[in-house]
């Protein structure tokens, strides 16, 4: 797999969540994603960026444009040094929330992506990686 472009944005406040969305949109358009695919990856990015801010206390978003043979895609990694998630399986269930939201952030982002990985250590932080292919 070739990484054609690699950007990292800081997530510290709600404006940064907006910036992440705009950047993901721009990369998706450049990669030739159709409108529905753009909307799905930008929405997933919005959910995960907000999680990073609200639950992780802020962190980073890495946006990679990747190519696997003829397939182009986007790989997004959201990383924080927050409290971590004690029970990842539970956190991935629809409707599970500790923050007063709808509890659709993680599970919804997973459904909107072709690939989804989560790594979380209590007391150290959380890293979520998603990919969507054109």
């Amino acid at each position: 797999m070739i990484v054609a472009r690699d950007d990292t944005l800081v997530i510290r406040n709600p404006d940064d969540v907006v910036r992440v969305r705009q950047e993901v949109r721009a990369r998706a358009v450049a990669a030739g994603f159709g409108l529905v695919d753009q909307t799905k990856i930008v929405t997933a990015a919005s959910e995960l960026a907000r999680n990073t801010l609200d639950y992780g206390g802020g962190g980073k978003a890495r946006i990679e444009v990747v190519q696997n043979g003829a397939r182009k895609g986007l790989r997004l990694t959201f990383e924080d040094q927050g409290p971590g998630i004690p029970d990842v399986e539970l956190a991935l269930k629809d409707g599970y929330t500790t923050g007063g939201g709808l509890g659709l952030g993680l599970s919804g982002a997973r459904r909107l992506s072709n690939e989804f990985q989560i790594h979380s250590v209590v007391g150290e932080g959380t890293r979520v990686t998603i990919a969507r292919w054109k």
Binding site: D15, T39, K40, S46, G101, L102, R111, L112
Partner: protein, 136 residues
């Protein structure tokens, strides 16, 4: 602080959401709307989201909350102008906005609020009025 303008349109209030809403802006809108429903006696709230490229669960929750509060104040909420790609994504996200009425555009949303379905049911077979998607 920024606020989203609320326009009075007959017996309804019209809110056009074009910018990314932050928590504070969303909360201000909820408060402004509920106050205005009471002072104007509006029977409905139209929320035009045709300018939004995405609706995530944060925005979805705001729409649900506004609809629930308006209902308690005897006003219907109709979300109008949702883009097709946004609708597809919302369903996949798991957010079907069950508590919120939707309409394709402001005219149809207004008809839902005033109970005036005249354009759609009478008259000629206007192409624009020939489907029944998005309502209810």
């Amino acid at each position: 602080m920024d606020r989203i303008p609320i326009l009075k349109l007959g017996r309804a209030l019209l809110v056009t959401v074009q910018v990314d809403m932050h928590d504070r802006l969303a909360m201000a809108l909820e408060e402004d709307l509920s106050a205005k429903i009471v002072t104007t006696g509006a029977r409905g709230v139209l929320i035009d989201i045709s300018g939004l490229e995405i609706v995530d669960s944060f925005m979805g929750r705001m729409l649900d909350t506004i609809a629930a509060v308006s209902r308690l104040l005897d006003a219907d909420t109709v979300v109008v102008g949702m883009r097709p790609a946004v609708a597809i994504t919302l369903v996949e996200l798991g957010l079907s906005l069950n508590g919120v009425k939707t309409a394709l555009d402001v005219d149809r949303g207004m008809a839902l609020i005033t109970g005036d379905y005249g354009h759609a049911s009478e008259g000629s077979e206007d192409l624009e009025d020939s489907d029944d998607r998005g309502e209810g």
